[in-house]
Symmetry: C2
Subunit: 200 residues, 2 copies
Amino acid sequence: MVKKPAPDATRRSEKSRRAIYDAALALVGEVGYPKTTIEGIAARAGVGKQTIYRWWSSKADVLLDAFLDLGEQAGQEPYEIPDTGDLASDLKAVLRATVDELFDPRFEAPARALTAEGVVNEQLGREFVTKLLEPQLELYVRRLRAGQDAGAVRPDVDPRIALELFVSPLAQRWLQRTAPISYEYTDTLVDYALHGLAPR
Amino acid sequence: MVKKPAPDATRRSEKSRRAIYDAALALVGEVGYPKTTIEGIAARAGVGKQTIYRWWSSKADVLLDAFLDLGEQAGQEPYEIPDTGDLASDLKAVLRATVDELFDPRFEAPARALTAEGVVNEQLGREFVTKLLEPQLELYVRRLRAGQDAGAVRPDVDPRIALELFVSPLAQRWLQRTAPISYEYTDTLVDYALHGLAPR
């Protein structure tokens, strides 16, 4: 995790931190997680290895912070999914924004590399799910709970499972490239999930 | 793809084929796709490299056939999802069988290794989706179409998208280990997908 810079930290150390994040994300996207090393990140960022070890204890930690920072830069961090009173449009809007993010070139290659590693490396996978993915899913849980309070979602529905009906299909199409992704597709997922496949 | 053995093929060549499949699945599960080689498979199977090249042109082809064979052994190959007239129970039954398969130790490690590689290796990913995953998803498409004919699924629903509402959540929980998997969970997915999250 990021240790806050000491009070005498200069703009220079902030610049180093940014260079380290950029190098870590670029490297993991290019050579994969197993071949990404602290040494390689340091060389690419133009800093000494010790600069990295001063702030982080492992490459997993550097990458985790680099992804958190990427989310912050994209303005997507701990916030709430808007609640306009129209659950369907609110969910459609956030999924459309997710589609944009998934195909953002700064994000795609490193996110694929890390997800691939998490599939076969249980410890890394669990760490990234806990620290990166679950906090995002929790935003859907909260929006669906508000929907329950407003009568838009059945009270007996478990929001943590419910969100998977539209989040997981998008994740699988992106990860496994099973079929094309479009706004129309994610809008359809929301409609199907809310109204069900069976006739009403 | 498997070339059918010549008419004079002996039980011995069938035994070699089985040994090659077992070796390929074990190796990719243990060392991952990039480090699995035809040479390694041959050594582990106790056959000459040329025996493998006689039947397959690449390690991707060997692995594809090994997975197809695993599915056949498990009795899951090109068949239809049962149609008892009760769509919900039919879908729940096939998802419960999928849960069993996902945690079958013969299947899990090689399937994870190959899926992980497909996430970062677009060509391999697309080949395995086309040849292994899509034919399985097509079974759901057909069962949902029968459900449309029987009035159990709305006629305007696209079955290829609809199936993702219960298939993709299970896939994501398994691949990314986002949350536990149980029969109760997959049953719930089917109920939510058919009846929707919104009150009726």
